[in-house]
Symmetry: C2
Subunit: 376 residues, 2 copies
Amino acid sequence: MSEAPRALEKLNIRRPTLVLDRARAVRNIERMAARASSAGVALRPHFKTHQSLGVGRWFRDVGVSAITVSSVAMAHYFAGDGWTDITVAFPVNLRELDDIAALAERVRLGVLVDSRDAAQAVGRRMGAPLRVWLKIDTGYGRAGVAWDDGARITAVAGDILGAASLEFAGILSYNGLTYRERTAEGVRRVHDEALEKLRSVRELLVSRGAVACAVSIGDTPGASLAEDFAGVDELRPGNFVFYDLTQVGTGSCASDDIAAAVACPVVGIYPERGRVLLYGGAVHLSAESMESEDGRVIFGQASRAWPGGAGPFAPVVSVFQEHGVLEADAQWAAGLRLGDLVCVLPVHSCMACNLYTEYVTLDGERLGTIHKAREA
Amino acid sequence: MSEAPRALEKLNIRRPTLVLDRARAVRNIERMAARASSAGVALRPHFKTHQSLGVGRWFRDVGVSAITVSSVAMAHYFAGDGWTDITVAFPVNLRELDDIAALAERVRLGVLVDSRDAAQAVGRRMGAPLRVWLKIDTGYGRAGVAWDDGARITAVAGDILGAASLEFAGILSYNGLTYRERTAEGVRRVHDEALEKLRSVRELLVSRGAVACAVSIGDTPGASLAEDFAGVDELRPGNFVFYDLTQVGTGSCASDDIAAAVACPVVGIYPERGRVLLYGGAVHLSAESMESEDGRVIFGQASRAWPGGAGPFAPVVSVFQEHGVLEADAQWAAGLRLGDLVCVLPVHSCMACNLYTEYVTLDGERLGTIHKAREA
């Protein structure tokens, strides 16, 4: 029970714990800030990945002053720590108009709409000025007005422009298609295609009288790898602060950039079937899976060396509510004992982080999350 | 924004909310209690599904006095509400021996081991008497000593029997293989095969001097459908309290037995591509998926009538952190408006419930969960 990497030993971990490597996270933030700066675009990082005031302060220390969140509750949470420029990058929920109106009294708030019904409902309800983005779909198919539906684009924009309490911010898009790529070249191509579409939408709106029409884009692969940001005004990546195995797969980061891992106690060792059982399941890692390089479905990669080094890895081949099963060869498992800690790099850090009320840094600092705050 | 089913209208739901149909849940509990009673076995329901003191009291009202949990923290939580007979059905975590010892001073506590190392470590640490189950693997391959490894079984049992502070409770198994079946006959066959193996293990242990050797089994499909419980002393199903789409798939329940759903506001309607967007994603439903009857991967089934009726359904075909995408035909979506509520039946209710700090019943009662309590 003493084989934990030295950096973990002093953290007194008894149960699955989300551990952050602060130095790596800050390096990731600084790199992204430098990319945005050299491209001449504003960085408005998405805080849905960490959902933590403490991690938010790491961004503030690097000079970030405007943020993105994915829910009104999250906007309220960060507003409480002095953030005053917040975009809720989620189609406006008409059941929360009162909350939105209250928050707009306190901070410079942005929301997004993709229909005339939503634009009109928001326009009717708001007293304080509210920035409204028109959500555009460049092909991902999740939310937004289709980029080539000029009639609807101008109609929704017209509703925003025509409402006294609303400020038309511009067009906002999320290009999730970059996640399907496996090379930097592929990510850049998909990024460039979407950007070309957004430029045409902006041209249309400017030609119809929208004097100011900013362009906001958001995915971590594009933000990490693209070279062309011409016409882009702001970047909203989120995942890059911690990265994860999915981002390694897109080529957006290296394994050594991953700044979040779940430390899990070993509760079973079965050399006869090449398995190790972890206290660390779907309620600690999430049930998100991905294909590994050899085409298998995995739920994480376990390392006995993290954060000292990335590998070697034993894949998490199945998860249950509290259990995680590793496929571990004799070499990986050599000397392993019940009660040892291993660190699992997550498939999707946003989803793993969402399962915790607090994180622990390698320095032993405990950082509460929104899930802690909402019950305090 | 007024199309919510009448039962939901008065709940004042603004965000994704886990709604419980208490009458159905109590009916599910009563049915399982009746099944156990008529089979002559004790019911020790698994509380990992709901993780809520309030729901626990529904079981108490039906006469349940002994429970199962999946973590030491969960055992402490329920002990705080007067539960005095608790089994932690998870391989003992040596990093929590102090917590286990403290709890064993307060309640009749059971834990499980599947190795000599674990049995000996527990034996060395415990002061207060602790009941220890020997975990047996009948073929599922997750945890446990293989049912046909007689040498190891007798060695681990010997370690338990030889430790002064430990009480050998018997053998405990979890037959997750029943989840792969799609008919009652299939579930019964798989159940019966595992039971035969457990009987042989018990015979072996009794022949080696284990005077008392109870047999404890646990899966909801087997508990819901099996007819042969000869030789079984206790049943530990958990999911049955709420059931879910996975259980409908195994034939263990009907859609109308599902007692938990996530009420989600509609935030996008896209008839041109047959999609409806919900405020309700992987942080509200979990990322658990299943194959629907027509072979597609789905993350839930959305109903506009629940709890008034089950269908018709629109499948959740993708989930993101906060978004859920429905494939909805014109008939299903007829008259739907932004802000309406739809109820999503979960793929796996245990995993969906784990994402909430409280549930709301159709009567408007709010029931806190362990995630609320641990931050209070």
